[in-house]
Subunit: 231 residues, 2 copies
């Protein structure tokens, strides 16, 4: 499997390029609008063709490149059942996707938002904002729900083998990956915490809203094709 | 091999943690002073002990954590022959290092600076500022020499197998790695360029000096233990 981790420093967002070397088919997970040229350059120089964009959820902190990439390449845009209506495919827990010979398992991991998915490919899981390195996504907007997130992390993601590599949608401290075993043991939000303690912690975070939420959420409902002014 | 890529967003510097799972011995390549706690937390939580810090060169854009890490852990600090005098080991082209069972080959890759090294571990090469993703280090200070850098890249690094994974000391566009084959084919500074064209390109870059060069270079000559005021 061809694999590249890419980073948008403005929003601290990770985008992932995964591809099947035997067919050259590629997918981008959570691409960022401002990074379209960089990402397409990689696809081109690696001799790949973009067949899919996979969104983990409707993002509040950056505008997706999904719509532009579909326009430029004809790729299929995949989102959750509650994701952008104009996507090509709406998937749910247990669904499978093929990118060339790569088999991608869809896991529903709501709680950060109600439409949040994770994607499992071999021993890598792309967790969006459900599970971060030593952290989790917040749960205070877009129908977030700490009780649901607790289940998504402890029952769905922590059910994966310990050596599964965790690739999140963000990191703010320069960490790039983790493993399920590590997070089970060391994630300060969930390790050794029961549901009640997690909910209390999440409800007490008192975070400011993401700077671009008023632009990003509506823009992402159209896959980034209509960006409100200010964005 | 345990492997982690870490990033310092302030200086766009990559630090690498490599470790031998059988002995738990770990090395940090190009650690950054401000990230000591993050890096030691990883070493600790992964159940490792830090045996080495490896510097690719005397950096001009950030202050190394090597001295502090030696003080905190007793690790061995490895630099090139022209690197910081107070290091524990000064290595040159062809030398080998052991971190537990990991075998590390030292490659002299001068040109960005006169003391620049790369470290080859299995199919990964840590290239410092010699070879970057679709770029190279600059050659206009610290005894940089474009002709030397041309040889380091085309004769030393490009002599490695095409599928060798390239991990640079920096990236400014959110790219995290490359391969030797990719860089041989697509690096705009060297692909299809002869020595004369490369030297002309490098001598014509007209870059401003790194913001912190007056602080970083003298600080790094003491492995970060004496940081001039302003740093």
């Amino acid at each position: 499997m061809i694999f590249r981790q890419l980073f948008d420093a403005d929003s601290s967002t990770f985008t992932y390029l995964i591809a099947d070397p035997s067919t050259g088919k590629a997918a981008l997970i959570d691409p960022v609008l401002e990074k379209v040229e960089r990402d397409l350059q990689f696809v081109h120089e690696l001799g790949l063709s973009l067949s899919h964009v996979l969104e983990t959820h409707i993002h509040a902190d950056h505008v997706t490149a999904a719509g532009v990439l579909r326009q430029r390449t004809g790729c299929t845009v995949v989102v959750g059942e509650l994701g952008a209506e104009s996507a090509d495919r709406h998937v749910r827990h247990g669904d499978e996707l093929r990118v060339g010979q790569l088999l991608i398992h869809v896991l529903a991991t709501p709680g950060h938002t109600d439409d949040s998915l994770s994607y499992l490919v071999d021993d890598r899981v792309f967790t969006g904002d459900a599970l971060l390195v030593r952290g989790t996504g917040r749960t205070d907007f877009q129908n977030g729900d700490p009780s649901q997130l607790y289940d998504s992390i402890t029952r769905v993601l922590f059910a994966l083998p310990d050596d599964t590599r965790v690739y999140p949608a963000h990191d703010y401290q320069g960490r790039t990956m983790s493993t399920i075993g590590e997070e089970r043991q060391h994630n300060p939000r969930v390790a050794g915490k029961d549901r009640g303690a997690f909910i209390e912690l999440m409800n007490g975070l008192e975070l400011g809203l993401p700077k671009r939420i008023d632009v990003a959420v509506p823009a992402n409902r159209s896959l980034g094709m209509v960006v409100p002014s200010g964005g």
